[in-house]
């Protein structure tokens, strides 16, 4: 038990007649960075809000450091650092005032608080803005204040909802280099970004309110043998049918592309193009990504072509 920091057991949640979470179970080991990957509307934020003790699940239970989130919310809140997806800062207050008030809420005061604030302001490169009101800051800077706030009380468990929303690529790298340095802190974060998911120690993939897969990013990708060939065509459905007749493959038509999992993909591509001249617009061959794992498990794409996350 002692090395499990966060665990969920059959969590379910219903908003009216919409099922947001459906029997989700997982365990996060102490000190691990655990990512919840999934599209918007997949249940990530609901799960996050249950762990943050802000909503009561309709069924199942969740524990943080062995404490039940429903039975002992205050003990759970004391152990948690929380970073929300939506901003949780007071725009009328300065950066330093926001951090100071937040420290007070967690029982910090006086010199230790001042030193901790200085440390975090410098870590997130916001010292020069400490006296500015939050409402005058850019979105990216606000996000950094938000992260500093979540880390301020030195939480044992840090939960973050889409932490890199609004961060530019440089700040995103800073965030991750910092997360990796948080020794002994358990991190649970939600994300719909593949490159962010890749950096987690372990992942749970959430879709349609269910946990469809979990494991390390490498183990998840290893589920798919060989390569992934993606074909774009004018009439993907018809071409997919023809492929099924011609080769020993199981093409899946998703959005406007055909997707095939196959060993020795480069050889297959040559045969494919020779077999259907003029019908193929483009072909790509690649090693499986987490996107492919998501498609493999759900039959849907995680990301739309414009880079936005698809709602299930």
């Amino acid at each position: 038990m002692s090395d499990v920091a966060v665990e969920a057991d059959g969590l379910g949640h219903v908003y009216g007649d919409r099922v947001a979470l459906n029997g989700v179970s997982f365990a996060v080991r102490s000190g691990e960075i655990f990512g919840l990957l999934g599209p918007n509307g997949g249940g990530k934020t609901t799960l996050f809000r249950i762990l943050a003790t802000l909503i009561v699940p309709s069924s199942g239970r969740a524990r943080v450091l062995g404490r039940d989130v429903m039975a002992e919310p205050r003990a759970v809140r004391r152990a948690l650092g929380v970073v929300f997806q939506a901003p949780a800062l007071d725009g009328k207050l300065t950066v330093a005032e926001n951090l100071r008030h937040h420290g007070h809420l967690y029982g910090w005061a006086g010199r230790p608080l001042r030193e901790r604030m200085r440390e975090l302001l410098s870590l997130f490169h916001i010292e020069e803005r400490a006296r500015d009101r939050v409402e005058t800051l850019s979105g990216g800077l606000r996000r950094r204040v938000e992260l500093a706030k979540g880390l301020l009380p030195r939480p044992e468990v840090l939960i973050m909802d889409e932490p890199s929303t609004g961060l530019d690529p440089g700040a995103r790298l800073d965030l991750w280099s910092h997360l990796k340095k948080l020794h002994g802190v358990t991190v649970v974060l939600t994300t719909h970004l593949l490159e962010e998911a890749e950096r987690c120690d372990r992942l749970g993939i959430l879709a349609g309110g269910r946990m469809v897969a979990s494991g390390t990013p490498d183990a998840l990708k290893a589920e798919i043998s060989g390569d992934v060939v993606t074909v774009a065509a004018r009439d993907p459905a018809a071409l997919g049918e023809k492929m099924r007749g011609r080769f020993e493959v199981a093409p899946a038509v998703i959005d406007r592309t055909i997707r095939i999992e196959i060993a020795r993909g480069h050889e297959f591509v040559t045969r494919l193009i020779e077999a259907f001249p003029g019908e193929i617009e483009s072909v790509t061959v690649g090693k499986p990504t987490l996107e492919d794992v998501f498609v493999h498990r759900t039959g849907r794409r995680l990301m739309n072509e414009d880079g936005t996350s698809s709602a299930l």
Binding site: A52, T53, L54, I55, V56, R74, R77, R78, L80, V82, F84, A86, P87, A88, L89, D90, G91, K92, L93, E97, R100, H101, H102, H104, L105, Y106, G107, A109, K149
Partner: protein, 243 residues
């Protein structure tokens, strides 16, 4: 107590950084006072005093009422801006969150009503130092309960418009029926009863006694204190309910 002090202070700082809120809470009652007081000046024959003087304590209470109740709009803003969720996820007990909101609103309201009280001598209203101190203490007790009333309405609201719609239902009637505008003794019996059922009447009467006689009307103080305690308990109950 650090979290309560911190959140209360935030409430006050936030208020003074939004200047337009001061104008609204202080300006409206003063305009009322000047217009009503001057208008009825010739026709008022109660208490042997002029109407501007009669209306003075009522105006102070109206300032408390406006300032205290409208201070709770910050709850709606906090919810909309996301600040509230950070507080709710922190280890601070719900009762401390409520207490800091009520203390913050009380401080804001008492500061404004106190400012108005200081204007009294300019308008020919004689206030003794003892009377002023007593009124100040009463302002705190009254404002605490009124902020609680605003909190109860604001807690579940997601827009300031909705809040205004609900609060206007009882804001002005509460004041009209508190004895602020006319002496209760001369009113018809049914009206006297509604005045008696209105918790604000007791605050009104206590303030009037303090300002005119420098005397604490303890039974009235007890009623308004009880109102504050009930409001606080109701707010804690409201805030502790799971979302």
């Amino acid at each position: 107590m650090i979290p309560v002090a911190s959140l209360t202070w935030r409430e006050i700082v936030r208020f003074f950084r939004q200047r337009n809120r001061i104008v609204g809470a202080l300006g409206t009652p003063i305009v009322f006072w000047v217009l009503l007081g001057s208008g009825f000046h010739g026709s008022f024959r109660g208490d042997g005093a002029n109407y501007l003087v009669y209306l003075f304590p009522g105006t102070a209470v109206l300032i408390l009422l406006f300032a205290a109740i409208f201070s709770t709009i910050s709850i709606i803003e906090d919810r909309r801006e996301g600040f509230l969720q950070g507080v709710l996820a922190s280890p601070v007990p719900r009762s401390s969150i409520v207490l800091s909101k009520l203390l913050g609103g009380t401080a804001i309201a008492v500061a404004q009503a106190g400012l108005f009280l200081a204007l009294g001598p300019l308008a020919g209203v004689g206030v003794t130092p003892v009377g002023a101190l007593q009124a100040g203490a009463l302002f705190m007790i009254i404002a605490f309960g009124l902020t609680g009333l605003g909190f109860l309405v604001a807690w579940r609201m997601d827009s300031a418009q909705g809040f205004h719609a609900v609060i206007n239902l009882f804001l002005m009637p509460m004041w009209f029926l508190s004895g602020a505008l006319f002496p209760v003794e001369g009113a018809p019996a049914w009206l006297q009863w509604t005045v008696r059922l209105n918790p604000l009447s007791y605050g009104m009467s206590a303030v009037r006694h303090a300002l005119s006689e420098g005397r604490m009307a303890w039974p009235a103080v007890a009623v308004i204190g009880m109102f504050g305690a009930i409001m606080f308990a109701a707010c804690v109950g409201q805030a502790a309910r799971p979302e």
